[in-house]
Every structure is written in structure tokens, then in C-alpha cells.
């Protein structure tokens, strides 16, 4: 012992630490080299699916998130009324609901809940849970980003947007006034009144404003959104409110009094007064009343915004409308899916294990799913090659080419309901000219972009809405250089002469977006003789520029939430936060309205097709291609079939050993 010590002492300290580290390392290596099976082999033995999920989710509360990454986890641990079919699109399998039927015009649906559906803590699921859930996501104070997915329910929009005027005087059967007479009152506010110079002061110290500013502020906000104090100033006449002439003084007084009464009572929840279209006929019969005919409602209920959340758990951690209470954390969460949350290490993994209380647990083959938030797509592909993952979240173009050579059996490329397009700012010259827009569109060789740049087997878009079995997209977009030149000449720019040299394509710093913009730049130069520039902006400013219409041309994409054309068409109506082109058309909106009121499924789709034709004829956006998903899937995974929405029901997935 002493001899060894002496030897150590004679060595220089640096040497000593080297020896120590080497010993430590060799110890480590012997420990880890015992690992004689790959992570995939081990996972196959244990029945755990290892999947790359792109990033750390923003959360797993079905009511508070809006992304695909979050949806992948939520779909495993929660279940809605209906469930996705493992291989058929637009097909609904029974979930919590055993059966469902609608009335003749699809405005009322009845869902019969199964008796054996339980929460993971053993509590039975009732219609009351669904009512609570829809009440929660629509609560104005919860701040649910995606509440509009439930606007199909009658009065849901008005309740969610806290439209007190509508609720008091239209929805409430005891309304003292006739809604038709007063509906033109400024309840919801007028954004055109500019109050930016004193917005802060008005919020904090309304009384310090000049009376002219007070008046602007109150009219900007609208009756629904002003405080009790501000209502009083209207009542006592110290502020002039812009009432429509048709509304009498007596009616004005009733309106103000009713709003003040509500504010004085501490602004209680208006759910009961609002009569939102969801009720329970019996504890296991859920009745849903819609604002118009929706023949595809079961399809929508597969979206996670329509999933039930456990009333008894949520109320343990806060009120119905407190966001981010921690009820979704491990140890707290109660859910009803085929799997339950087991562990969640931030930025490391999320693991869900088979739920023994699930009503259909005999169908579930997997013992669990482990989600890895791998952000770097190249790392993800290398992890797959190294047998660390069953499935990658995505696959970058270079890796597609590589995988085609080295792992052709694992490469999957499938259609996905999404469209990539260019937004054009139609309020700017020369893009306000429809001919210019059509010329720009005709000069794009979409096939060339797909085959040389994207490599993902995407489909060139011949319309806007991705083609599905039910819906035939109009075939109007095609590459035709001569036609493009002709249109350009008609627009007054023969061979590009006289065309501005200041037009810019706005992109994000994403590699593929930039290369896409470069390809467009080259094509327009070649076929139209015009020069456009490329402007790269960081994500946040890229979005802001579009919202403020401070751009010329911008790249963009849209992914469908469910299989219906409206998910791609509604956004182009006037005032929609996602339009951002400055384009609008009353004719287009009329068609959308007509479709919304039509109870005949095939007629409805015809009308939507006409609406799509209108926007395609105007071309405020230039569709480029329809998406595919490219990913790597390990051959041991069974029951993972191509699905247009890419929402794979995990309860049908299996792992085959060896």
C-alpha cells in the first residue's frame, strides 16, 4: 500500500490525474460495453416504440396547444368520441362514443358513449366530462389558441369571444330586447379607430385621458370589452358613444344597464346564458347542436381540441379557466387514451405506457411509446441508422437521397394534406394586377423544383386544396412559359420591360425556403425577363411583416386539420388572421356561406369547388406543391400505414421482434 503511494508521489501531478482518468474511463467502458443489444433490439423486446418527435412539446394540455408535435403525444394518451382508422382516410372508428347519428340536415348529432370508458384513475367518463371540456376550451379566460375548432357548435364563437351583447339579447330566451333591432350596435369594437398613441394610458389610467381620447377608446373597444367605469361614462352621457340611429334611447339604456349589471356582479361566466350547442340527454348521451349542417362532424371530433379532459382532475389544480396549472405533469395527469403518461424528462424524452384502464386495451399491442425531441434532423437520421429509433420525425432532402441508397426498405414517402404556396401582397403594385399574378404563376416549373430541389416526391399543385378521394380539385395551374409571357405583355410588361426591379421574395432563414426562392428567382428571370430579389428574415419578423402587409411575395405553407376543403379555404376570407394578402372577395365568401348552409354533402363539395375556382382565378396566392411526409420507419414496426393527415392511431401499431 505504502509502496504504491510512493510511486504515485514520484509522478508529476498531471500524470497522476491522467492515470486516474484512464482508470475511470476504462471502468466506464467495461460498464457500458456490457450493452450487447441495440436500443431498437431492447425496445422490440420490451414492446416500446421509439419515435423522433421533432422538438420538446409546448405542453400536452389538449386545449392549450396547436401543434403537430404536441398532437402526436396527445393522440396516444387521450381519446375523443371517434378514433382514426389505421389505414383508411376519412373513416371514423368508435372511440369514447360507441355509436352516433345525426338528424336529417346534419345540424344535430347524438353520440352514445360507451359504458366501459374510464379515466386512467378508474373514474367513468360521462357526457358531463365532454360538456365540461367544451366549456373549458371555449372559456374566454383560458386563452385557448385553437378554440375556433369548436366554433361549429351553435353559439360557441360568441361565448368564446365574450360577445356579451349577443348572449344577453340573442341567446338568452329572457332577453328584454329584440336582437334584430340592436344587432348593429358597436358591441365588438372597431379596430379602425387608432388609439395606439394612448393605448397604455387608457389601460392603466382611463380617467387621465382627454374626453376626446376617452371617446375614441370606448368606440375602439366596443361595448363588450369596456370596463364598468367606462360603461358609466356612456350612461351618464359624459362620453358620446356612436350608436346606430335605429336604436332608440330606451333601448340604449336597457343595453347599458344589462352590461353594467353583469360587470357589477363581477363578470360571472356566461356559459349557461350562452346556450352553447352541447348538452347531455342522459349521462351517456351527448347531444351536439351545430350552427349549420356539418356532415363531416365525426371527422372533426378526431382532432385533439375535441378530446375530453378530466373534470375531477382539472378542478383539483385550479378553476375551469386557469391555464397551465400543472395538471398535465407526471403524477398529476389523468387521461383516457390507450396509453398514460409515465415519465417526462424535459428536453430528453416523454414516455407513455399502456393504460390498463383503457376500454379496448386488448387491442393495444405496444407496451409503451417513447418520444425523443430530436431537433436536428441529420442527427435524427444518424440515430436511426445506428438503431436508436423506430421512426424519424422527418428527413431532410440530402438524407432522402442517402437513405434511398443505404436503407431503401426503411424510406417512406407519403402524401400529406398540406400545401406550399406563395402569398402575394395584392395591395402593392404591380401585384394588384391579376394578369401579373397569373403570369408569375405560369412561369413556375413546379415539377423541376420538386425533382431537383425537394426530392420528396411531392405533387405539383394544380389547385389549392390537396386532392382527396372525396374532393376533386380544379385543374387550373400549370407551367406554360409562352402563356406567362403573353399575360405579362397584356399586363403592360412585354419581355419584362418596365417591370419593377424592386420586387422581393420574403423567406425565413430555412435552407429549403431560400433555395426555393432562388429557384423562383431564376425561373422568373428566364421566362419573364424580370429581376426579383430575395429577402431573408428571422421567423418572428417574417410573420410580422406579413401580418402588417409589409412585403411583396412570401413563402408559406398550410397543413389541414381535418379532411375537408374548408380547412384550406376559410382562411382566405376577409379579416382572417391567416389571409395576409390584402385580397378578399364577396363572391368567394358568399360561396363559403352557401356551402356552410348546405346539408347535401356532394352539393356542398361542389359549391366549395366553385369557391376554390374563384380564388384560383384571382390567384392572390400561388400554390406550388402538395406535401408529402418523408421519414424512416424501422421494418419491425407493423400497422403504420400511409395516412393523409399523418395521425397514426398508436393503439393499432405493433412491434415485431427480429
Amino acid at each position: 500500500m505504502t509502496a504504491t503511494l510512493k510511486v504515485f508521489r514520484q509522478r508529476p501531478p498531471a500524470m497522476r490525474s491522467i492515470t486516474f482518468t484512464l482508470l475511470l474511463l476504462s471502468g466506464l467502458l467495461t460498464l457500458t460495453s456490457c450493452q450487447d443489444e441495440t436500443p431498437i433490439e431492447r425496445a422490440n423486446r420490451e414492446g416500446i416504440l421509439l419515435i423522433g418527435n421533432g422538438d420538446e412539446p409546448k405542453g400536452i394540455d389538449p386545449h392549450l396547444v396547436s401543434g403537430v408535435i404536441e398532437g402526436n403525444i396527445i393522440r396516444a394518451i387521450f381519446e375523443g368520441l371517434c378514433v382514426d382508422h389505421p389505414e383508411k382516410n376519412a373513416e371514423c372508428l368508435p372511440g369514447v362514443a360507441e355509436s352516433w347519428e345525426s338528424n336529417e340536415d346534419f345540424t344535430q348529432w347524438t353520440f352514445n358513449l360507451r359504458t366501459n370508458a374510464l379515466w386512467s384513475d378508474g373514474v367513468p367518463i360521462t357526457a358531463e366530462d365532454f360538456i365540461f371540456s367544451y366549456h373549458r376550451i371555449l372559456s374566454p379566460n383560458l386563452g385557448a389558441k385553437y378554440a375556433e375548432m369548436l366554433y361549429y357548435l351553435s353559439n360557441a364563437k360568441e361565448y368564446n369571444q365574450d360577445h356579451k351583447g349577443y348572449i344577453f339579447f340573442k341567446a338568452d330566451p329572457k332577453s328584454p330586447l329584440d336582437w334584430q333591432l340592436i344587432k348593429d350596435c358597436n358591441f365588438t369594437g372597431n379596430d379602425k379607430i387608432d388609439i395606439s398613441s394612448f393605448k397604455d394610458t387608457a389601460k392603466n389610467d382611463f380617467s387621465s385621458l382627454s374626453s376626446e381620447q376617452k371617446q375614441l377608446y370606448v368606440n375602439h373597444k366596443g361595448l363588450n370589452r369596456i370596463s364598468l367605469k367606462q360603461l358609466k361614462t356612456i350612461q351618464d352621457g359624459s362620453i358620446k358613444f356612436d350608436w346606430p340611429t335605429s336604436v332608440t334611447a330606451a333601448e340604449r339604456e336597457v343595453i347599458i344597464a344589462r352590461l353594467m349589471q353583469h360587470a357589477e356582479a363581477g363578470s360571472p361566466d356566461l356559459w349557461d346564458l350562452a346556450h352553447v350547442g352541447v348538452t347531455a340527454k342522459t349521462p351517456l348521451t351527448l347531444v351536439i347542436n351545430l350552427r349549420g349542417p356539418i356532415p363531416f362532424l365525426p371527422e372533426i371530433t378526431k382532432h385533439y381540441t375535441w378530446f375530453p379532459v378530466p373534470k375531477h382532475t382539472i378542478l383539483k389544480f385550479g378553476t375551469i379557466d386557469t391555464p397551465n396549472t400543472g395538471w398535465t405533469r407526471v403524477g398529476n395527469i389523468v387521461s383516457n387514451g390507450a396509453f398514460v403518461l409515465n415519465s417526462w424528462r424535459f428536453n430528453h424524452h416523454i414516455e407513455a405506457l399502456k393504460n390498463p384502464n383503457y376500454w379496448d386495451s386488448s387491442t393495444v399491442k405496444l407496451n409503451g411509446i417513447r418520444y425523443l425531441p430530436v431537433k436536428n434532423a441529420y442527427t435524427e437520421a444518424r440515430m436511426f441508422y445506428d438503431s436508436q429509433l423506430h421512426k424519424t420525425y422527418t428527413l431532410p432532402p440530402e438524407m432522402i437521397i442517402h437513405s434511398r441508397k443505404v436503407r431503401p426498405e426503411a424510406l417512406r414517402q407519403e402524401p400529406y394534406v398540406g400545401v406550399y404556396f406563395l402569398r402575394l401582397n395584392t395591395t402593392r403594385k404591380p401585384l394588384e394586377n391579376q394578369k401579373v399574378r397569373l403570369a408569375l404563376s405560369a412561369a413556375i416549373d413546379r415539377r423541376l423544383i420538386i425533382d431537383n430541389l425537394l426530392q420528396g416526391g411531392q405533387t405539383p399543385a394544380h389547385g389549392l386544396v390537396p386532392q382527396t378521394e372525396e374532393y376533386t380539385t380544379p385543374k387550373v395551374i400549370h407551367f406554360d412559359a409562352t402563356e406567362a409571357q403573353k399575360l405579362m405583355a397584356e399586363a403592360g410588361f412585354p419581355n419584362g420591360e418596365g417591370f419593377t426591379t424592386d420586387l422581393k421574395i420574403l423567406t425565413t432563414p430555412k435552407e429549403t425556403s431560400i433555395r426555393m426562392a432562388e429557384a423562383l428567382q431564376a425561373m422568373w428571370k428566364q421566362h419573364l425577363g424580370i429581376n426579383v430579389r430575395i429577402e431573408q428574415r428571422e421567423w418572428g419578423t417574417f410573420l410580422t411583416a406579413q401580418q402588417e402587409l409589409d412585403y411583396d411575395i412570401a413563402v408559406g405553407g398550410w397543413i389541414g386539420d381535418f379532411l375537408d376543403p374548408t380547412t384550406f379555404l376559410d382562411m382566405w376570407s376577409k379579416g382572417n388572421g391567416n389571409n395576409n394578402t390584402g385580397w378578399s372577395s364577396t363572391e368567394f365568401e358568399e360561396k363559403l356561406n352557401l356551402a356552410e348552409q348546405n346539408a347535401d354533402p356532394s352539393e356542398r363539395l361542389e359549391i366549395l369547388k366553385e369557391a376554390e375556382a374563384i380564388i384560383l382565378n384571382e390567384r392572390p396566392i400561388l400554390p406550388l406543391y402538395w406535401y408529402t411526409t418523408s421519414y424512416l420507419l424501422h421494418p419491425s414496426v407493423k400497422g403504420w400505414n400511409p395516412l393523409l393527415l399523418d395521425n397514426h392511431p398508436f393503439k393499432f401499431v405493433e412491434l415485431e421482434s427480429n
Binding site: P12, P13, A14, S17, I18, T21, L28, L29, L31, T32, S33, Q35, D36, T38, P39, E56, K58, G59, L64, S66, P140, G143, A144, K145, A147, E148, N160, Q161, D200, K203, N204, P323, N324, T325, G326, T328, R345, F346, N347, H348, L372, V374, K375, N376, T379, R382, M383, Y385, D386, Q388, E538, W539, G540, T541, L543, T544, Q547, G577, N578, N580
Partner: protein, 307 residues
């Protein structure tokens, strides 16, 4: 020494205060806001509610006052990009991985860099010197985003017990440490070589040699101690930088560390997270520099007299 520590701690508070005030206003000056980072636009009435929840609807100066108050009470606020998580929680959760990778990286740097520098200095102008300095130059020049994937391809794919990426087995620390450490090792080698050469030319070394002291004690006891001073000065801030600035290595190797949050906080305009990380990093840097100063005092008695 006590006086030095006290004054440095006070300085650190002043610097960090200035730093986060600057960050507070700078991040808000960038166009865009924390709630508009989804490609789907958020309805106005929802945005108003969420702004209210995070206190973003208040005037800037009120937000700042409230923030300072909360920070003094140890509360760094709520993350907007990861709703439901506090900044404190994110830092606490991601620190261990960062610390381990940081320690690993510095270990690699010291074990490779210092011996290389010493040998190069002892064999000055020989092929050993030239080749080790050439290797060091390469090490400085290769960026981590090249070295990392190369190690994944050359090492991890070829061995069974090293994974390409992940943070599950003990071996998972090796590649990130190596990737991070090589660059610092190269700097360290050059600094050590320079320091060694300077000390070796001193009179007291010549005296020791003349008196017949064996070479090993001369190097270890008399030369290295003085020669380490530039290297130690470099190591402190390098350690702090590795802990919070290893964004690339973290994403390449899927390490759940802190560096990625720094970058993500800026791109997702997560004000509270960025401010919290700046405060944390400020103190870390100040702490590392303080340790360097103390180490230098211990290494160099002349400095001790000066304070």
C-alpha cells in the same frame, strides 16, 4: 484576498444588473412578439388574454419594475415558449447536463492541451513541436458542427457501445466532451507552450539546471507553475462559455443542456427565459473569473503582495 472576493462579488452584481437591463430592453426592441411565433395566427381576443396572463399588456416600465422585484426574490418568471414552465425550472433541469458536458470538455482540453504544450515547448523547433502545433491549429480551425457529425460517423456508427446521440448511458458524455474539448485543447496547448518557453528562459531555471536538479522536478515544480498562468486565465471563461454556449453540440448530440435555450429564447422571443439565462450566465462568468483570480493568486506569490 478577502477584500478581492468582496469587491468582485459586488462588481458581479453591478455587471449582471446592467446586463439584464440591457437585455430586457434590447429583446423587446426586436420586431415581433412572444405570442406571434406560430405560423397560424392567434385570434386577437385570445392574444389579449394571454398577454394579460404574462403581464405583457402592462407598460414597459411597469413590466421592468415588476421583473426586477421578482428577480430579487429569486423568481425569474414564466417561459412563454414552454407554457407552464418557470425559467427557474428550465435552468435547474438543464444545468446538470451542461455541467457534465462542460466538465468533460474541460477535462479533454486539459488532458490533451497541457501535455501537448509542455512537450512542444521542451522540444522547441523540433518536428514534435511543429506537428503538435499544427494539430493544435487544426483543432482551433475545425468547427464543432463539422467535428461532431464526423465523430458520429467515424466513432459512434462503428462501435456498439457509443450511441450516435442521446443522453442515456455513461458513454454518451464522450463524444460531446471530445467535440467541445478539442478546440479548447488546441488553445490551451498554444498558451501552455508560450508560457513554458517564457519561464524556461528565466534565470532561476538556468540556476536550477546548473545545480543539477533533475528535469522532471524542474518542469513540474518550477516551470509549469508559472507557465500555467495564461492557461488558467483562459480556462475560467472557457468553462463558463462551454456550459451555456454549446448550442451546436447539444443539438448534434441531443444533450438536454442549457445552450439550446439561449438560442431558442431569442428566436421564440421568450423574454423571461432569455433574461433569466443572461442573469445566470452573468453570474457564472463572474464566478469563473473570480476563481481564476484566486487561482492566479495561489500560483503567483508576487500578485499576492500586490493586493
Amino acid at each position: 484576498m478577502f477584500r478581492l472576493i468582496i469587491s468582485r462579488v459586488l462588481q458581479a452584481f453591478a455587471v449582471v444588473f446592467f446586463l439584464f437591463t440591457l437585455t430586457f430592453f434590447a429583446i423587446r426592441a426586436i420586431p415581433g412578439d412572444p405570442l406571434s411565433t406560430d405560423d397560424k395566427s392567434m385570434p386577437e381576443h385570445v392574444k389579449e388574454k394571454i398577454e394579460e396572463y404574462y403581464g405583457l399588456d402592462k407598460p414597459l416600465i411597469v413590466q421592468y419594475g415588476r421583473y426586477v422585484k421578482n428577480v430579487l426574490m429569486g423568481d425569474l418568471g414564466l417561459s412563454t415558449s414552454k407554457p407552464g414552465r418557470t425559467v427557474n425550472e428550465i435552468i435547474v433541469q438543464s444545468l446538470p447536463a451542461s455541467l457534465l458536458v462542460g466538465i468533460g470538455g474541460i477535462t479533454v482540453a486539459v488532458l490533451l492541451g497541457i501535455p501537448m504544450g509542455v512537450i512542444a515547448a521542451l522540444r522547441k523547433n523540433s518536428w514534435i513541436d511543429y506537428s503538435s502545433m499544427a494539430v493544435a491549429m487544426i483543432g482551433i480551425c475545425i468547427p464543432t458542427f463539422v467535428l461532431g457529425p464526423l465523430l458520429q460517423l467515424w466513432v459512434a456508427s462503428k462501435t456498439d457501445w457509443i450511441n450516435v446521440a442521446g443522453w442515456d448511458t455513461a458513454a454518451d458524455i464522450l463524444l460531446p466532451s471530445l467535440t467541445l474539448g478539442v478546440g479548447s485543447a488546441a488553445y490551451l496547448a498554444r498558451l501552455t507552450r508560450g508560457g513554458m518557453l517564457e519561464i524556461l528562459s528565466q534565470d532561476y531555471i538556468r540556476t536550477a539546471k546548473a545545480k543539477g536538479v533533475p528535469m522532471l522536478p524542474i518542469i513540474v515544480k518550477h516551470t509549469l507553475r508559472g507557465a500555467m498562468m495564461p492557461a488558467v486565465t483562459f480556462l475560467g471563461p472557457a468553462f463558463a462559455a462551454i456550459i451555456s454556449g454549446s448550442f451546436i453540440v447539444e443539438t448534434i448530440f441531443q444533450v438536454p443542456g442549457m445552450g439550446q435555450h439561449f438560442v431558442n429564447a431569442v428566436t421564440s422571443k421568450d423574454y423571461a427565459l432569455l433574461q433569466g439565462l443572461v442573469i445566470f450566465y452573468g453570474f457564472l462568468m463572474a464566478g469563473a473569473n473570480l476563481l481564476v483570480d484566486i487561482a492566479l493568486l495561489l500560483l503567483n506569490p508576487r500578485l499576492r503582495d500586490a493586493t
